[in-house]
Symmetry: C2
Subunit: 243 residues, 2 copies
DNA sequence: GTTGACCCTGACGCTGCGTTATCCATTATC
DNA sequence: GATAATGGATAACGCAGCGTCAGGGTCAAC
């Protein structure tokens, strides 16, 4: 699947991305960017996906999010790349404008204006926007509950979850009450229980409603299972938990 | 001299400049921004000059200079505000442009371009420019030689030095060889010896040539002593050291 | 004279790496 | 196939630039 010729060593990855090797080591250490693979002798290897993740990381970093925040956002299985990019662009635009204000201030100072104006240094506006972004992108409650696990598990778990929804997406032509569908729901429940927390029927029911109502859940689920998967999942869960 | 009504407490200064009180404490601690005065009970008070210095600090900080670098630049008696502002503006423009590149990248990513391009994250260009700036603004050799002294002494010493040149500026109508002028030169030599390092005639001679040749010295000296002071000082020093 | 807002000085903690130091792996060269 | 050069790994320490208590003075108001 992964083309060996496309795998990069640390040094190559570092040069390409203009970060230090140490930084890659560190990002590995804190679970922010795991190498795609490691050779028998422990050498880190990075593929295109890893580099893409690194791009995202660097974008967030430029916007002054902490590494922990970045990890939480990127590892959230309901992370929505499109939306993230849009918000990032908005923030970058603010940043640019902000820099312009500083230029204006410097120009004023150069001309001798002795203005005691520090508004150009005020970053609360951006901070507020970032706060909203944090809320929007912040790890879901379910996800937050399991901070203990190691990073590799987390990142895999995210993919696994989405795989379950993808599988569900192949059953859209059936009734939500169909046994095959109901079995998928049960698998979801078991997966959550196994990896995060005991997922009672009650909790599962709550999740189902979230999937149907919250836009960000819906988008991400539909992205993996096809349009309508989220709504379908909600119905199926409702039936499952009512029994 | 300083109007009491214009003095700000830490909290007021912090609010005005949008930095934390802790930051002001810290800047005091490392000698980056000394309060204009302290009340008998130790309360820090900041006047307009201090706030202006803070503006400069924040500008430099935005450009990612370290606090130590900032202090060295601002405390250098040959610091040239005009030139600094120009360079800062240039750097800010670069920064803005840089942000724009990231916006472009994000837009490309949003449209699905799977470009493996990290050039937008490359800051070496800016770094290089900053290096030049460092050289230009970096503490002069003389100044660097005396890292030991405490910050208050440093900042005062800068002003005192310039006062000597200002005094010299009042003697421009005389011959450089005039006793009054020569005495000023001797005072300069003594001041340097007392505050920095033993200033032999040879060293003094070297300084004189620097004053005459280096544009940044010339500008700063002339700014305090009036046009022609630097050249005048150079001549006077030459005469002084030849005896 | 006491309350509340404000100030101080430590001192410890944290993030995001830079910087050795020391040792294994791989490759190129002889 | 020996050896040097190059590249990789881990471990450990260090540092800047503050945030964040903890413990304790000050000062105006009431």
């Amino acid at each position: 699947m992964t083309n060996k010729t496309q795998m990069l060593t640390v040094q190559q990855a570092a040069r390409l991305s203009h970060v230090s090797i140490r930084t890659l080591h560190y990002y590995h250490q804190v679970g922010l960017l795991l190498p795609t693979a490691q050779t028998k002798s422990g050498y880190r290897m990075y593929d295109k996906n890893a580099m893409k993740r690194l791009q995202h990381i660097l974008l967030f970093r430029k916007l002054k999010f902490s590494l922990k925040e970045i990890r939480q956002m990127l590892d959230d299985p309901f992370f929505n790349e499109q939306e993230a990019l849009e918000k990032q662009i908005a923030l970058l635009e603010m940043e640019k404008q902000h820099t312009q204000q500083l230029i204006d201030l410097a120009n004023a100072l150069r001309k001798g204006d002795k203005i005691m104006n520090f508004d150009a240094f005020d970053e609360s506006e951006m901070e507020q926007f970032k706060q909203e972004a944090r809320k929007k992108w912040g790890r879901t409650a379910a996800w937050q509950a399991c901070e203990k696990k190691n990073p590799a598990d987390m990142q895999n778990a995210g993919k696994d979850m989405m795989q379950l929804f993808a599988d569900l997406g192949t059953l859209l032509h059936l009734s939500p009450a169909h046994p095959a569908v109901q079995q998928q729901v049960q698998q979801l429940q078991q997966y959550i229980t196994a990896h995060f927390y005991p997922c009672t029927n009650e909790i599962l029911s709550g999740l189902g409603q979230m999937y149907a109502q919250d836009e960000r859940f819906r988008q991400n689920i539909d992205a993996h299972g096809g349009p309508g998967t989220a709504a379908f999942a909600a119905k199926a869960i409702e039936i499952f938990t009512k029994e």
